[in-house]
Symmetry: C2
Subunit: 427 residues, 2 copies
């Protein structure tokens, strides 16, 4: 519209010169200039903030996030501004993950995609019909910058599975200009939200090479299940350690996806998977709750399987094998550090002494180091604000009972799976 | 901007009358009219569709949803256009639920809220900073109409807990103009996405009175857990059957929320709860998978408790007691209908006879009526598109094993809870 306004103002200039009394033109011009300004800048678009405020006023976009500190969930929420997260694939899961992190006030987001927005994407959240034809990265930057101007957005419109794309990808991950003092690579977490095997293998390769922790996500072709998974090179299974259940044989996977075979998708499943993915990311970055190594979502039965996968000593990925070796070599140092921390914690506890000298109710303290984070959260819900009374036993107590009965989070052994696979192949 | 363009055109009219040669004004007017049109209509905004197409082209906004039929998940996806869903509370959960249903192509959405959009809401999905100051209903209609013009949107900017608001609410639920042939009330489902006890009790009262099935949702004040619940008047516990764990004593709950005590919230938790809520709604409306009677989400441990709650025979809600009586009285008819259906299914099976006369592999059919829906879905994932091979045993088989071990979805007896409560009160 800028061009049209310019033409209109030029016409007014011409008209003014041809008139005896230019007064009505002046009035017209001020009208037009006013309109041009209105069409350009949005009066409600908020300006950047210097610090995250915890003030409880309607005009503070961070009040409900900073409340996480006051409620004892997160120790230091403001740290979120120091973190860089890379999101590969800005589709049904990646775009929603990007929006969630943007609204949470993440420091920097790196976005990778080569695709354009189509009407066929409108059954998932985030992109709007007026963005059809734009690249997904451009459309995402447009929307995200408007939502939260405090987030540094960097977008890469390219395919990471090409030789040049892969090089740009790894280079961008190691760029430390946002936080020069950072140890390791330049980003804190990579989120893989791609829809194909090839791209997952590219992310896996880059992260194994860079010792970069990442999380993988996926949604099934029938739209009704999905998963998220944490991958720490050397420590957990990498994407190449456990072969996927289904692989393309002979045909290019992209051909399979594009030509006639149209995968189903739902905004619900993708929204849930994005939510679980970013929640796990927040727990990982801000150090609260328990970070899930793997979490599945079967929407037909509302079943959420969890498991842990150890790295495969016969993994086909060379960088993974190197990371595994490093992890084993670093074990004595890790054990020593853990022991030192335990001793330090214990001595601090002794130094501090009991808070009260008398112990009328005979209360004793039980050490439950492993459940530290969740216990902290549970105890926070025990304290009610003034004016509230509790009518039933605390929910956490009830949940604990169920949890004991259900035996969740059983660890799965890759060796067992491999044996099953071999037995099947032999049959 | 519409007002400003009108003023500009009026000024041009005046100027035209005062000039000898009106030609330059004609040119100006056409410029301005062009701009006014540009500012109003979005060139990419898509037009309404007559029928949901399953054609696999980038320009079809329903291709990925209609694929649910081809993949055997949903028998008739197009039925979604016949359904009306009412959403009470267009906040962090309700707005996302509305967007998901809109993108799924729901027939009609009724939206209820009296609040306005604030910058303090920007840490949740959906609303944009440029909508600050608008009512949530107006802002929602603006965004949703742009996303999917096929959905009929009706908004009610009012508080359903006032006497007049409650009356308008129940009246709007019984309005059958959208689908005159519908049995029962005018809507198929009510979703409660409110943030306070009073509003939940109002939804509960209306639904008990109207025999209206509804789903309740909630997110904890510390932002890290939430739940959804299905309520069928007379059949399941109503909201008044089980007292909430925490209630305001003496003070007005709204005062408690507004003054200084700011609840925490996260786009992740609210997005997950909205996703689970709409997924359960789709399963309920389109008849696939298992509709969950209750599903909790504890994000710190990624724990998802399920349970069933029977109605309380001593419920304080008179309409609930009436529905309970009706439900008991209708039991013989329900049993007879179920028996007739079973017999009909059995006789159809006999009438049809075996599909193949020879049975080389000795395959026999096992009746598993109860698991019909999930079995259907599981078997659909057994068939792979051409070009794909399976490398490991089917995921469903693996999940079945875990499911047997975990003993999920244990039914909870309200009587037991009541006894616990009485024991606590007596102590």
């Amino acid at each position: 519209m800028e061009v049209e306004f310019k033409a209109l103002l030029d016409d007014l200039d011409l008209l003014e010169k041809s008139l005896f009394d230019p007064a009505p033109i002046h009035k017209l011009r001020s009208h037009v200039e006013n309109l041009a300004a209105l069409s350009k800048c949005n009066p409600h678009r908020r300006s950047k903030v210097k610090e995250l405020s915890s003030e409880v006023v309607d005009s503070n976009p961070y009040s409900r996030l900073m409340a996480l500190q006051r409620m004892g969930i997160v120790e230091n929420y403001e740290r979120i501004r120091e973190f860089s997260v890379a999101i590969v694939g800005i589709g049904g899961v990646g775009s929603v993950a990007a929006e969630m992190l943007t609204r949470c006030g993440i420091g920097r987001l790196l976005l990778y995609d080569y695709d354009t927005v189509e009407l066929a994407n409108m059954n998932r959240l985030f992109f709007r019909p007026d963005q059809v034809g734009m690249t997904k990265t451009d459309a995402a930057v447009q929307t995200l910058a408007e939502i939260n101007p405090d987030v540094v957005l960097e977008s890469f419109t390219m395919n990471i599975t090409t030789v040049q794309g892969f090089e740009t990808f790894t280079k961008s991950l190691t760029n430390k200009s946002f936080c020069p003092s950072k140890e390791g690579s330049g980003v804190d977490l990579v989120l893989s939200c791609v829809d194909n095997y090839e791209a997952r293998m590219a992310v896996n390769q880059a992260c194994n090479e860079l010792r970069q922790t990442w999380m993988e996500s996926g949604v099934s072709e029938d739209a009704v299940s999905g998963h998220i998974q944490l991958l720490v090179p050397g420590e957990t299974a990498c994407f190449a350690c456990a072969p996927p259940l289904v692989v393309a044989s002979g045909i290019d996977e992209r051909t399979l996806k594009r030509e006639g075979v149209c995968a189903a998708s739902l905004p619900t499943t993708m929204g849930v998977v994005a939510g679980l993915l970013v929640q796990n990311s927040l727990k990982f970055l801000l150090n609260f709750g328990e970070v899930s190594p793997y979490l599945g979502y079967n929407s037909l039965k509302d079943f959420f399987p969890t498991m842990q996968m150890r790295p495969n000593p016969q993994c086909s990925n060379v960088a993974c094998l190197e990371r595994q070796k490093e992890y084993v070599l670093a074990k004595p140092a890790r054990d020593a550090a853990a022991k030192a921390k335990m001793e330090a914690d214990a001595s601090t506890a002794i130094d501090e002494g009991p808070l009260h000298d008398d112990n009328e109710w005979n209360i004793s303290v039980v050490d439950d180091e492993n459940e530290k984070d969740t216990t902290k959260a549970a105890s926070s819900s025990d304290t009610l604000p003034e004016g509230l009374t509790r009518e039933l036993p605390v929910a956490d107590e009830y949940e604990k009972e169920i949890a004991i009965g259900s035996g969740e989070a059983e660890e799965d052994d890759l060796e067992d799976l491999k044996k099953q696979l071999e037995a099947l192949n032999a049959a």
